[in-house]
């Protein structure tokens, strides 16, 4: 903002000197009386010029103020309640939690989920500390704690997604194997049944054949 103002002052000075040279500079003896004479003799055009300069100055000041306000709003420092770093860390923590929850639902081992949950609790604690620092007005510490929390959340999210992907693949393979076994089990059942059926039929067939042979022998 100060650089803008300096630039503006320089430009104003430049315009002013150009204006003096451009207009009738009859006497260079007295600078103090110059302006009054100029305003008297060229009152209309010079008056307009100053008005224009005033408008330009106002516009420059206005734009400088709005630029400063905008940069303050976008500045990644803690401003008021829940500044951008804390909000961002909160968002990253929520994403990490969603990934961890999804991984747990997929069936990632309890030990792995436990480790990730502990890390996420650390991130929660850091975020809580960041809020405390923000409340007491220590924006730097708040920003640092929030960014550390966000970094932990990101690593938890990545690990949870990796574990989830791995578990999902293993789960798919397991389910595929379980359902692929269905026709095999059915076939085994059918073969066992067929063998049992034939095994039960054979003695009765032999008995009938023996009876037929005996009858023939008796007849013969």
């Amino acid at each position: 903002m100060s650089s803008c103002l300096n630039e503006y002052v320089e430009r104003l000075h430049c315009h002013s000197s150009q204006g003096l040279r451009g207009h009738e500079l009859e006497s260079e003896s007295s600078n103090s009386s110059l302006s009054s004479r100029l305003s008297f003799r060229r009152g209309g055009s010079l008056g307009m010029s100053r008005l224009a300069e005033a408008i330009v100055a106002s516009l420059v000041l206005l734009s400088a103020c709005s630029t400063a306000a905008a940069s303050s709003a976008l500045n990644p420092r803690i401003m008021g309640t829940n500044g951008p770093p804390i909000d961002e860390a909160e968002q990253r923590l929520r994403l990490a939690y969603a990934a961890l929850n999804a991984a747990d639902e997929l069936g990632v081992s309890g030990a792995e989920v436990s480790v990730l949950a502990n890390r996420l609790n650390n991130a929660l604690d850091l975020l809580s500390d960041a809020r405390v620092f923000e409340k007491i007005g220590n924006g730097t510490a708040a920003s640092e704690y929030a960014s550390r929390s966000g970094a932990i959340s990101d690593s938890v999210r990545e690990d949870a997604e990796d574990f989830g992907e791995r578990t999902s693949e293993a789960l798919f393979s397991k389910r595929f194997a379980i359902f692929a076994l269905a026709p095999v089990v059915g076939l085994i059942g059918a073969v066992v049944f067929y063998l049992a059926y034939r095994g039960r039929r054979r003695p009765s067939m032999e008995k009938i054949l023996r009876m037929g042979i005996r009858r023939k022998q008796e007849d013969g």
Binding site: Q91, R94, L95, Y97, A98, L100, N101, A102, D104, E105, G110, V113, S114, A117, L120, N121, L124, S128, R175, I178, F179, L181, A182, P183, V185, G186, L187, I188, G189, A190, V191, F193, Y194, Y197, R198, R201, M205
Partner: protein, 206 residues
């Protein structure tokens, strides 16, 4: 030949039957039935029992008398959950939280603590609090509290210091929406459920 053909036909029937039965059993195995999902929320006194919430069992609190409670949460949701416990100060006319539509009590939280809980994990939060100052404006009494070392000035007042209540709400983070809200979604029914607790007390300046 006739018997072999008959045996083969029966074998085909057995094949189909066994395959179908196995598939059904496999489906049941890989798809566990949805179980009831819930949280357990409780408040214990200073000896970690459901008693001795106040010295001498006298629910009239005096300034600078330290109280120590334990707020417990058990995750019985079947998966890891991110929970928050909010302690709020209410009075007799404060609207209570509603489990049906998930509306919390319309007063700011004195303290909010969050944690990621594993399935079947219990989290016990020590809550040390005391009344630092009793402000009287006629019959209207307002308080300044110290909750876990943090000084807070609740907006709630009570006539003659009677019928204050400390309310505890359980909030959860819904993974899909990413918002903290009162209660949780029951997976078996898809409905929102909520649990909250309150402990009534009076305050006297002397």
């Amino acid at each position: 030949m006739v018997s072999a053909s008959k045996g083969f036909r029966w074998s085909v029937v057995v094949f189909v039957a066994v395959t179908l039965i196995y598939t059904g059993a496999a489906y049941v195995y890989v798809t566990p039935p949805p179980r009831e999902s819930l949280f357990r929320l409780y408040v214990l006194g200073e000896e970690k029992m459901f008693e001795h919430y106040f010295p001498d069992e006298n629910a009239t609190v005096k300034p600078d008398v330290a109280l120590r409670w334990y707020v417990g949460v058990t995750n019985l949701m079947g998966s890891v959950q991110c929970v928050a416990v909010k302690a709020k100060l209410g009075n007799a006319t404060t609207q209570s939280p509603s489990g049906a539509d998930g509306t919390p009590a319309p007063v700011p939280a004195l303290i909010e603590l969050r944690r990621v809980l594993l399935d079947n994990e219990t989290w016990e939060i020590p809550l040390a609090w005391k009344v630092i100052e009793v402000r009287q404006d006629g019959a209207v009494v307002s308080l300044v509290l110290d909750v876990n070392g943090v000084e807070v000035e609740p907006i709630v007042h009570a006539i003659s210091g009677e019928n204050f209540r400390m309310m505890f709400e359980l909030w959860t983070l819904t993974p899909g929406s990413g918002d903290m809200s009162l209660g949780w979604i029951d997976r078996s029914s898809g409905e929102r459920r909520a649990t909250w607790l309150q402990v009534w007390f009076n305050v006297t300046a002397t």
